[in-house]
């Protein structure tokens, strides 16, 4: 096996792969595989081969070849992941699903679509729009990320507050198992007898197999939407308003928070009308029947005013609504204006703990001397603190990671989780034991074994231990962070 861990791979393996997917579907020259070294985060590692299958049978053939050759295998979508899930930690074969991007079927009567894994999230909603339908989970990366990647990460998005995350929308999956067999989990109906393997596969971060077909629910476009921007002088008021809205039993379609620093970054870049002098704003959307949204919008207004909102604006027309959303979806990208680098976290807290934990986030910023910009899914209690820094300064990256760890720890201490939607991946596998005991993790390993997934199947992901993955150490993360250029941070 050692010959394979070098930069080159046995030429017979390349030939077998070329026979399986065609010569134009295999990259192996070091300069060609370079672009597949990283995803949206900081870790990098070079695969020896990248293959681009077009059919399930080709994926199956590739899985068997990699297995026979004792090579690690790593599924990959668009590479926008934020936990290093698609990084070939131990080298090996990256299976890029980007050529499997057909929408195979849109069943209007039954409201589902059958897609290949490389279909880009937003493209599905566009294809469904003529039928008055759309695909609800909307990660901010939806113009780029693939549905296969969404399934693997159980991706969320602003509108998942009311409609649920990816797993709530996946009816069935065809997967190629680690052993190279194609099987269906779930199907086209809402339930199938037997263990919910579909449910276990969603969110498995590419460690249980490769999704080759996905059946997803489509929803009818709601008849009415109202979009409000609640402007607060203080972050504390905004986070109290979030708790109060949820506590009142209102479930908006979306409830997002952006703080002063985020607005300072996005407004000059995007000119979408966020007030630069506010402490924080809430972007709140209610959807449904006209009657329902009228009632909910009034209730939301009342709660926000009660919590001290300085102003409430409502989008008058579609264009204004789109502008506000463009600001939200472009927010993270705009952070580059404030600092050369930023590092995004993904903790979750119970919603009543939001004010306290946000205060702790700002206290960490103060203690470490880093600006931290917050733009996040407040209604779910899913924080995204972005630590702004400059990696060229001696020792900064180490301190960024330490600050990030303190914040993640604060989320766990508040009864929350280490990740709400970005996944554990390479990055947070050391934190898994903060929330799960050895026995808990051993139970997850049973699932892995049942799927026939071994040490070489997307290695070094999710689980704290793994052969050849090394210690999960600060130093390792730090080295990775230093190797990555500024564009490696989203």
């Amino acid at each position: 096996m050692s010959k394979n861990t070098a930069d080159s791979v046995d030429s017979r393996v390349i030939q077998r792969l070329e026979r399986a997917v065609g010569p134009d579907g295999v990259l192996w020259r070091p300069e060609d595989v370079l672009a597949f070294e990283y995803d949206g985060t900081i870790e990098r590692a070079r695969p020896q081969v990248v293959v681009f299958p077009r059919e399930t049978s080709e994926v199956a053939a590739v899985a068997r070849i990699a297995r026979d050759a004792g090579l690690p295998i790593v599924p990959r979508g668009a590479g926008t992941g934020l936990s290093g899930g698609a990084v070939a930690a131990l080298g090996g074969v990256v299976v890029a699903l980007t050529k499997m991007k057909r929408i195979l079927e849109i069943d209007v009567n039954n409201r589902f679509a059958v897609v290949e894994p490389g279909v880009v999230n937003l493209d599905l909603s566009k294809a469904a729009a003529p039928y008055g339908l759309y695909y609800a989970p909307d990660p901010s990366s939806q113009r780029a990320c693939t549905l296969g990647g969404n399934v693997a990460e159980n991706a969320g998005g602003p509108h998942c507050l009311a409609y649920g995350v990816t797993t709530n929308h996946v009816l069935g999956l065809e997967i190629v198992t680690p052993e190279g067999d194609a099987v269906w989990l779930g199907g086209r109906a809402a339930e199938t007898p037997g263990y919910d393997l579909r449910g276990a596969f969603v969110g498995s971060e590419g460690t249980l197999g490769i999704a080759t077909k996905i059946v997803v629910r489509l929803l009818p476009v709601p008849e009415a939407t109202r979009t409000l921007l609640a402007i607060f002088d203080e972050v504390d008021q905004a986070s109290a308003a979030v708790s109060a809205i949820i506590g009142r039993g209102i479930v908006p379609a979306a409830l997002e928070m952006l703080d002063r620093l985020v607005i300072a970054a996005l407004e000059p870049a995007l000119h979408v009308g966020y007030p630069v002098d506010a402490g924080a704003v809430l972007l709140i959307e209610v959807e449904g029947l006209h009657e329902t949204v009228t009632e909910q919008a009034a209730a939301v207004r009342e709660v926000c005013e009660g919590e001290g909102a300085r102003e409430l604006r409502e989008a008058k027309e579609a264009e204004e609504r789109e502008r506000l959303w463009a600001g939200r979806k472009g927010a993270i990208g705009a952070l580059g204006r404030l600092a050369p680098n930023y590092y995004v976290l993904d903790g979750v807290v119970p919603r009543t703990k939001l004010p306290a934990v946000l205060r702790e986030v700002y206290a960490v910023a103060e203690r470490y001397g880093f600006p931290i910009a917050n733009v996040f899914h407040a209604g779910d209690g899913n924080l995204h603190p972005n630590i702004l820094f400059d990696e060229r300064k001696e020792g900064e990256t180490a301190r960024v990671l330490a600050a990030g760890e303190e914040i993640t720890r604060a989320c766990v201490d508040a009864g929350g989780s280490i990740t709400g939607e970005h996944g554990v991946g390479l990055e947070k596998r050391g934190y898994l034991s903060w929330i799960f005991s050895e026995e808990d993790i051993a139970a997850m390993e049973k699932v892995k074994a049942a799927f026939g997934s071994g040490e070489l199947y997307n290695p070094c992901k999710m689980f704290p231990t793994g052969k050849g993955c090394g210690e999960v150490s600060q130093a390792r993360l730090e080295r990775a962070m230093q190797r990555a250029g500024p564009d490696a941070y989203i």
Partner: protein, 425 residues
């Protein structure tokens, strides 16, 4: 190690008695006519895990039991030594209404849970009888008319504590509404019928009780008219929290009798005042809607809860993509006990009273084939043991090889519910 050897049985009994209250098996705890040797009621989660470990060590088989409402589901068990009850695991551990999450012990009855939540104007939108346990409802993935608005049990379980067959207690998921750390074991456990482990604690999402709630019943001339009307109503995004279609037999069981050939569409309209008014207006314009009767609130409660009762000695559950339901009702056997459909969820329950196992088997075969062709499945939800032997309870299952390995990993000695689940797992 065999329990036939008196010394082994005595050792097991001693271990069980140390972990909980032990009684001899009785008819009340029989499963498919089989009686357990022991009925064990541990007082707490630790005792529950110890009982399981003791049984596992003794190679004794365990049938976990909550409210006993889904004991007819599944194949006849291969063995049945211990009935292990969650009845005493019934406390609310943590409930923060403002977070809309609650952590409870899994033996809590749906009724007690509902009362605790109602004090804060909240509820868990499951369709299960009030004497069913939460754990049992999750393990059997019970669903009903509310699925139209609220989805399935798997969508409400945020995390749980599971007693594995060897007595190890593990936590899965978490207590927050969004969480992707680790594999989604809660989803794997929901619907696994206690064959991978026993849910001993559960953290669920809860939701506000609607401000206004009314039940409307519309008379329909045929099954297809009823299904069409209900599907149309469901697709308009109206303020509906439950949608069901019932044949004459089922309607009269629910206290809303119609004449022989008639059908009913039933709607629970709920939400804000204005949305409810608008929804009722629109329902009135649908076929059969102009004569719709509004049920008084007490009658409505009784109507929806009777709907959760079995429709006959034999009950089949068919799940298909929703548009296939119309074709399936045409295939329903004459002389059935009752039919309830949840058209927007693509689910059909068929009650049969037929004493003739062969006749039942042929109805099941025909319906199952049609369900499979439509991309769905049929499960025999309840039946006398003789009928279960004549028909396949679960039918053929895709990915059975992975499921068998899952069972092997979690319960290598096949202690939990041996034989009851798919493929004889």
């Amino acid at each position: 190690m065999s329990l036939d050897a008196p010394s082994n049985a005595a050792a097991l009994e001693a271990a069980l008695s140390a972990a909980g209250t032990v009684a001899p098996g009785s008819d009340a705890f029989a499963v498919d006519g089989l009686k357990a040797r022991y009925v064990v009621t541990p007082a707490d989660v630790g005792g529950f895990a110890d009982s399981l470990a003791a049984a596992n060590n003794a190679d004794a088989s365990v049938v976990p039991r909550g409210g006993g409402r889904q004991m007819a589901l599944g194949n006849v068990p291969r063995r049945y030594d211990v009935a292990l009850r969650t009845a005493a695991l019934n406390s609310v551990l943590e409930y923060e209404p403002a977070d809309m999450t609650a952590t409870v012990e899994a033996g809590i009855s749906m009724g007690d849970l509902a009362s605790a939540l109602a004090e804060h104007g909240q509820f868990l939108p499951f369709d299960a009888p009030s004497d069913a346990s939460l754990g049992g409802v999750l393990a059997a993935a019970v669903s009903g008319p509310s699925r139209h608005a609220y989805g399935l049990p798997r969508d409400w379980l945020l995390g749980c504590r599971i007693a594995l067959a060897d007595g190890t207690l593990v936590r899965a998921g978490g207590r927050v509404v969004k969480n992707v750390a680790g594999y989604d074991l809660p989803r794997l456990i929901v619907g696994s019928l206690g064959t991978l482990g026993v849910i001993v604690e559960a953290t669920v999402k809860v939701t506000p009780l609607p401000a206004v709630e009314e039940t409307l019943l519309a008379l329909q001339a045929s099954a297809s008219a009823a299904i069409d009307a209900a599907s149309e109503a469901g697709s308009r995004g109206l303020a509906l929290t439950a949608v069901a279609v019932l044949d004459g037999g089922a309607a009269s069981r629910c206290g809303a009798a119609v004449d022989e050939s008639g059908w009913r569409a039933a709607y629970r309209v709920a939400g804000g005042v204005a949305a409810v008014a608008r929804t009722k207006d629109e329902l009135g314009t649908l076929a059969g809607g102009e004569d719709a009767a509004v049920l008084a609130s007490q009658q409505a409660t009784a109507f929806w809860s009777s709907m959760l009762e079995p429709l006959g000695d034999i009950e089949l559950t068919i799940t298909v993509p929703p548009a296939a339901l119309r074709g399936l009702v045409d295939l329903l056997p004459e002389g059935r006990a009752g039919v309830v459909a949840y058209p927007t969820g693509g689910k059909l329950r068929v009650g049969l009273d037929s004493a003739d196992a062969e006749e039942t088997a042929s109805s099941v075969r025909a319906l199952r084939e049609a369900a499979l062709r439509a991309g769905g499945s049929l499960v025999v939800n309840a039946a006398p043991p003789g009928v279960k032997q004549a028909v396949a309870v679960w039918g053929d299952i895709a990915a059975l090889a992975i499921m068998r390995r899952m069972k092997q990993e979690f319960d290598p000695r096949s202690t939990l519910n041996p034989g009851r689940f798919v493929g004889g797992i």
